[in-house]
């Protein structure tokens, strides 16, 4: 479930101007074995993809598959810098209002049709077409003019500078010749996509698997791995057993599996484990409309009462880091110089006393003006880490005289009954971290309405100004300043207690070579992975 919101938050970052340099093909790895074509990679997916037409898809399984079948105009490289994909290069006008993409001329759709700027223009029209039920329209509606002056040039104009304009063109380009004039919601491409990417779609057996095959005509060269099979295995324990029995080559482990169940010689001989920070963080958010949390001293006191390291150790088994703000530690927008709240229950108690909360009747819970300091934390069902974090926090709050109840609710009810109408005291939730720091929708005071994302009701005039400036500025240094200040304010105000950034824990069978972990993960050079001929397991 939580993945669903991740994908939609997907792309966003702006770093322009870099000409794309084709990555050097890996011919040899450290072991001196040469790259060979062939073999099959079996990947495990918890969920069944819903729709392989990117404009309609909004789940992570569909997104993972589409990433291999389609290309956008640009993409992130391994260091999360924007590089060209279908676009050879691009120019941004000096007033930042117009982007002109120059397309590669050697790209063909999987059915042999050449890709042209008309396809890109068509994709844009699809995204803003009111008849297309897509969740991605918003950003593209800010385009005032889109045109294809010639077959390999595509140009978009904006009324105002938009920081995320360039990265919005990471969206997969759809084939015009197969979709034009038809009802996209009934397109056969939803079940059998035709893209330009490194892998071609072969078959999709509902509830079972999706099979892809290397595209021999891929413009960056044929991928080394001949086939990719996504096996749909809804249960995480089953998936792990399948991995151990050889039925899977790649999956994401849970912290428990990573730390306790895979630390054997036999496992390490067959699999290689990786870990790097995930693009997500978990937080405890206070409903600022409730009188209980309106005093900033109270929020700071509670921040001192939470032992973040204990959460990382207890919930993630050490596989993560404490969070201080909404950006990934080590990324360019992240500001490490913000106010921190060390775990200090003595100080927390003292601050609560100062705020007027005293335990006069000796029941261990503080009161003020006849009201007990007692509230409920709500979180969604299906995410054990959040529930465990809630239990640990509950105990720590109790120690400083604050009573907490924990309620776990099914996702749809959780949103409908609690989050959207603002009917909660505090909540443990998570957000996906995008490479672009724009956080307008989550923190701007205009976004506090029913069903909007600033559901905790945070309002700050200075933050509003910063967020507005941030999304209209394209200069990275200037943006770093803006978002640096933004993080300082969040740290001072503590509307969220930022809890932790977990790690992604992928594991890959050892026969796959050429894997190169980078800030963007391990999949960025997937087409260069290979299995030496003598280690290949599947012949067809």
């Amino acid at each position: 479930m939580k993945h669903l919101l991740c994908i939609v938050l997907l792309c966003s970052s702006l770093l322009w101007g870099c000409e794309r340099q084709p990555p050097a093909p890996i011919e040899e790895d450290a072991g001196g074995q040469s790259a060979a074509y062939g073999d099959t990679l079996l990947m495990g997916s918890i969920g069944e993809p819903s729709n392989l037409l990117p404009v309609l898809a909004s789940d992570s399984a569909s997104f993972d598959i589409n990433a291999l079948v389609y290309n956008g105009l640009v993409r992130y490289d391994k260091n999360l810098q924007v590089e060209g994909d279908l676009a050879r290069s691009w120019d941004i006008s000096p007033d930042s209002l117009r982007i002109t993409f120059h397309l590669r001329q050697d790209v063909r759709w999987h059915d042999g049709h050449p890709l042209t700027a008309e396809d890109v223009l068509f994709t844009y029209r699809l995204l803003v077409d009111p008849a297309v039920p897509t969740a991605y329209a918003e950003r593209y509606r800010q385009v005032v003019k889109a045109e294809a002056p010639d077959a390999y040039t595509f140009r978009v104009s904006y009324a105002r500078p938009l920081a995320s304009a360039l990265v919005s063109w990471m969206f997969p380009v759809h084939p015009k010749h197969l979709l034009e004039g038809r009802d996209v919601t009934k397109s056969p491409l939803a079940r059998a996509p035709v893209g330009t990417g490194p892998y071609r779609f072969v078959e999709w057996k509902s509830g079972e698997k999706v099979v892809l095959e290397a595209n021999p005509d891929y413009f960056e060269g044929r991928p080394n791995i001949r086939r990719v099979v996504y096996r749909i295995i809804p249960d995480p324990s089953t998936m792990f057993l399948e991995l151990r029995s050889g039925g899977l080559d790649l999956m994401d482990l849970t912290p428990l599996q990573y730390a306790r169940q895979t630390d054997t010689v036999a496992f390490r001989r067959r699999f290689e484990k990786f870990h790097y920070p995930d693009f997500a963080y978990t937080y405890l958010g206070f409903n600022l409309r409730r009188p209980l949390f309106q005093d900033v001293r109270v929020r700071r006191a509670l921040a001192h009462a939470v032992n973040k390291q204990e959460l990382v150790d207890g919930v993630l088994l050490g596989l993560g880091v404490a969070a201080t703000g909404p950006y990934k530690p080590g990324s360019w927008p992240h500001n490490p110089q913000v106010r921190r709240y060390a775990y200090d229950p003595v100080k927390a108690r003292q601050m609560l006393e100062e705020a007027g909360w005293h335990d006069r009747d000796g029941d261990g819970v503080r009161e003020k003006d006849g009201q007990r300091f007692s509230f409920t934390i709500v979180t969604n069902q299906g995410n054990d880490q959040r529930i465990k974090a809630g239990e640990i926090i509950q105990r720590r709050f109790r120690e400083v005289g604050v009573e907490v109840k924990l309620r776990v609710i099914e996702w749809a009810s959780f949103l409908k009954e609690f989050i959207n109408p603002g009917n909660f005291d505090a909540t443990i939730l998570g957000w996906t971290i995008t490479p672009d720091p724009d956080s307008y929708n989550i923190w701007h005071s205009s976004k506090t309405g029913v069903g909007e994302l600033n559901f905790i009701g945070f309002e700050s005039a200075e933050v509003d100004t910063l967020l507005e400036a941030g999304r209209r500025t394209l200069d990275q240094d200037r943006r770093k300043e803006i978002y640096g200040r933004f993080q300082e304010i969040l740290a001072e105000e503590q509307p969220y207690i930022f809890l932790y950034v977990p790690e992604t824990l992928p594991v890959v069978a050892r026969r796959f070579h050429g894997i190169e972990p980078a800030p963007s993960g391990i999949m960025h050079n997937f087409i260069h992975w290979y299995v030496p001929r003598e280690q290949q397991k599947y012949q067809r």
């Binding site: 819903s50 898809a57 057993l241």
Partner: protein, 324 residues
């Protein structure tokens, strides 16, 4: 007899309508809507877009209008299209999943009958013997063992450690390259663990039920008569007693038909089997109204016809009922 059947069939229509109306209302009462998955907590979606999506699925119309439209389509035997992004016809989705679930459940009911009937008969005949006590303990163990736990244990032992059976799924990789014979063998190989797990839990109820029936029947006068005639114990038990003890089993079988299509979410999930149970569960979680309604209607029709069939079978087996 025919008149009676016709009457029963006509009676089923209002019953079915009632069931669908209640289901429809209850489903829509549950918080959350199908479009929420795409739009909730999504910074890219504006309120206007949300409205547009809702309008596309008729969700902005009054409930009764939505129900009317749905009913109109159902009258033409059209279950509509799934709301969840792929928008495929519900009938097609169900048809894809139904055979797998049916196969597993039929196999597992067959296995249950095969084991439970003799087990029940034997423990009734040898009541309070060591065998009876042993089976009692055994079947209750089966009853008390959570099926997901048993499944994981078996998968770990037979699948990972011994490598005898596939851990999950229904077909091996490269299944399509096998000959027909090997394909069937491959599927059966994959089915052994799931069918065993699904049968294991059902054994207890069934064999206890069989034992109870048998004990009841053995006490009857006609069994005494049969014994007095000097018939052998075998004939008394298997010809006279068993046939009568099996009668109530027909009812149970009739009632288990809807269970056949519902399948079991738990073991379909654990064994990664693309069946109805899992699809229905996902449909509910995603508030895919047409899919939920489609499965419910089929379930309701099957329950009602299962009942009818059981009654008919009963009438055929027991002349006393036919005459009434």
């Amino acid at each position: 007899m025919l008149v009676q059947i016709a009457k029963r069939l006509i009676m089923m229509v209002p019953l079915l309508l009632g069931i669908t109306l209640i289901s429809f209302v209850v489903i829509h009462l549950a918080p959350g809507e199908p479009t929420d998955l795409q739009t909730q907590l999504n910074p890219e979606v504006s309120a206007e877009l949300r409205q547009r999506l809702r309008a596309q699925y008729d969700l902005d119309q009054p409930l009764l209008v939505q129900y009317g439209k749905w009913l109109g389509r159902l009258a033409r035997l059209d279950f509509g299209e799934s709301f969840v992004q792929d928008r495929r016809p519900v009938a097609e989705k169900i048809a894809e999943r139904l055979p797998v679930t049916l196969m597993i459940n039929v196999l597992s009911i067959g296995l249950i009958l095969l084991i439970a009937v003799p087990l029940g008969v034997l423990s009734a005949v040898r009541r309070n013997s060591l065998f009876d006590r042993f089976t009692t303990v055994f079947v209750f163990l089966g009853f008390a063992t959570p099926s997901f736990w048993l499944a994981l244990l078996l998968m770990d032992f037979f699948g990972v450690r011994l490598g005898l059976f596939p851990v999950a799924g229904l077909k091996s990789l490269g299944h399509e390259y096998l000959s027909t014979g090997h394909q069937i063998a491959d599927v059966l190989h994959h089915l052994i663990l799931p069918v065993f797990v699904s049968a294991f839990g059902g054994l207890a109820g069934f064999s206890r039920y069989m034992r109870g029936n048998m004990l009841e029947v053995i006490r009857q006068d006609y069994i005494l008569t049969a014994r007095a005639k000097g018939l052998s114990e075998r004939v008394v038990v298997y010809r006279h007693a068993l046939r009568n003890a099996l009668l109530p089993v027909i009812t149970i079988l009739g009632l288990s038909i809807p269970g056949l299509i519902g399948g079991s979410v738990i073991f379909e999930t654990i064994f990664a089997i693309p069946g109805m149970g899992k699809m229905f569960y996902d449909g509910v979680m995603m508030r895919d109204y047409p899919l939920i309604m489609g499965v419910l209607v089929i379930g309701a029709v099957l329950t009602l016809s299962g009942n009818l069939l059981a009654d008919l079978a009963y009438a055929m087996a027991d002349p006393r009922i036919r005459r009434r």
